[in-house]
């Protein structure tokens, strides 16, 4: 009779364990799968993580109930809480850090883009300036004439950048080609600049854009966005 009672109690324990596991698996999986769909894993992972945290607290309260000694319950509870707090902290910091790194990558891309523009755009303008002033005091050719000589076939709105590699997306557009003023503009097609509302040359908004202006007095640079 006693053996039967013990067996039933152990079976009950097994059933309770299974119930806990089933409840946890269903709750955490449901939270994970029912989270709003996103291009990131964070919404699903965060929601499931919160549910998992609630589950763990409930499990600890259940597992650390009497007749365990108060000392043991406090000790295990404290260790578990510290571990959970550390996990939550590291989890949140990882989310913040990964987003920060993804944003930094785009900032680095913007710096690279600006660097290439600042390196490439002044070259034809400096050549033009040099050739223009080599004419001496009495100049027969305008800045635009000299520029056209150096860049055959160039016209306003044309691209003068020769691709440095296959698929090079850079464009250097002649925005203005006046006799005494040449304006070159270059922009990124997917890299955001400082002002999200800035209207770019090609009609896009908010992209990086740099401008160089040549007059007979020299070159000036405007970082437009």
């Amino acid at each position: 009779m006693e053996k039967t009672t013990v067996t039933i109690e152990i079976k009950q324990e097994v059933s309770i364990t299974l119930l806990w596991i089933a409840g946890g698996v269903i709750a955490v999986s449901s939270a994970f799968l029912l989270a709003p769909q996103s291009a990131e894993l964070w919404p699903a992972a965060n929601l499931a993580g919160v549910i998992a945290g609630v589950y763990l607290v409930a499990l600890l309260l259940y597992a650390l109930r009497k007749p365990l000694s108060a000392k043991l319950r406090i000790l295990v509870g404290m260790v578990a809480l510290v571990a959970m707090a550390c996990t939550a902290f590291t989890w949140m910091r990882m989310e913040d850090q990964s987003r920060w790194q993804a944003e930094e990558l785009m900032k680095i891309r913007a710096v690279i883009g600006r660097g290439i523009m600042k390196n490439e755009m002044p070259k034809p303008l400096l050549k033009t300036l040099e050739a223009y002033h080599q004419q001496g005091a009495r100049k027969k050719k305008s800045l635009a004439d000299v520029f056209r000589n150096l860049q055959p076939g160039v016209a306003a709105c044309s691209n003068i950048h020769k691709p440095m590699w296959e698929g090079d997306p850079m464009r250097v557009i002649v925005e203005t080609l006046d006799p005494d003023r040449i304006v070159l503009v270059s922009q990124e097609t997917y890299v955001k600049g400082r002002d999200p509302n800035f209207k770019n040359y090609d009609g896009k908004t908010g992209m990086v854009q740099e401008k160089f202006i040549l007059t007979e007095r020299g070159i000036s640079h405007v970082s437009e966005n």
Partner: protein, 256 residues
């Protein structure tokens, strides 16, 4: 009440029930993803840190950042990533702690009433395994938190230094343009008429948010010296030769 009996094993079918439950949850996760997003998504990378789902989520975010860097649209999480993250959560937070804690409790209560040594059983091995994972997770979190905070701080500092270096190089390129046009322009337009002599740095370029600059001209060679404002121990020195080329880049401090 908590006496040991012949049937004190976890119970008939206990192990396979747990395994089946886990497989079902992961399988459902993978199947539901294929159902909702049937288009083919190429896996980006493989992960070994299954027990840390936040690492998988972070890896995916950084992967999308790399795609954006190349001008590509972000990708949805792959079923593999999702299954890994969910499996990690279930193993680390549900399965192992539940089995370990409830069995640990049963043993503690049982030991208080009975002092017999239990024979080694499959359940003991399973208990030890789940205990090892649970205790590993609990013990590892504090060092992991400290190490990741340290890595985060040093990474942010390194990126800030790199940004400052890049900004200074960009500004030095603008100084080079000023120098070259000064060299080209005739004296009546404020130029040097094919010499750098008399070149003066524009006020806006003497000190910017990133650095302060000094340009010294000697015969046909120009030295540009940049001292970082943000990181005072950092500097860049470069020479501009007679042909207008920047040569002999020298980096000091953390710019090295």
């Amino acid at each position: 009440m908590y006496q040991k009996t012949e049937s004190s094993e976890f119970g008939p079918g206990f192990l396979w029930q747990i395994c089946l439950l886990t497989i079902l949850a992961i399988g459902f996760g993978m199947f539901s993803q294929k159902l909702f997003w049937p288009e083919k998504i190429e896996p980006m990378r493989s992960y070994t840190t299954v027990l840390f789902p936040w690492v998988i989520a972070g890896g995916h975010t950084i992967g999308n950042g790399l795609l954006a860097f190349g001008g590509k649209p972000p990708e949805l999480p792959t079923p593999r990533d999702e299954a890994s993250a969910l499996a990690g959560l279930l193993i680390a937070v549900v399965l192992c702690p539940t089995i370990f804690l409830l069995e640990w409790r049963r043993r503690r209560v049982f030991e208080a009433t009975k002092h017999e040594r239990q024979p080694l059983k499959v359940s003991s091995v399973f208990y030890a395994l789940t205990g090892a994972i649970t205790l590993y997770m609990a013990a590892a979190m504090l060092p992991i938190t400290i190490a990741s905070e340290s890595a985060r701080t040093s990474l942010r500092h390194a990126v800030a230094v790199q940004f400052n270096r890049d900004a200074i190089i960009n500004e030095m390129n603008l100084i080079e343009i000023d120098l070259l046009q000064y060299y080209i322009l005739p004296k009546k337009l404020g130029g040097g008429n094919h010499t750098y002599d008399g070149f003066r740095l524009r006020q806006q370029l003497k000190r910017t948010d990133d650095a302060s600059y000094v340009v010294s001209v000697e015969k046909s060679q120009v030295d540009i010296h940049a001292s970082s404002v943000r990181f005072p121990s950092c500097r860049i020195d470069v020479k501009v030769d007679s042909a207008g080329r920047m040569t002999e880049w020298n980096y000091g401090g953390e710019f090295r």
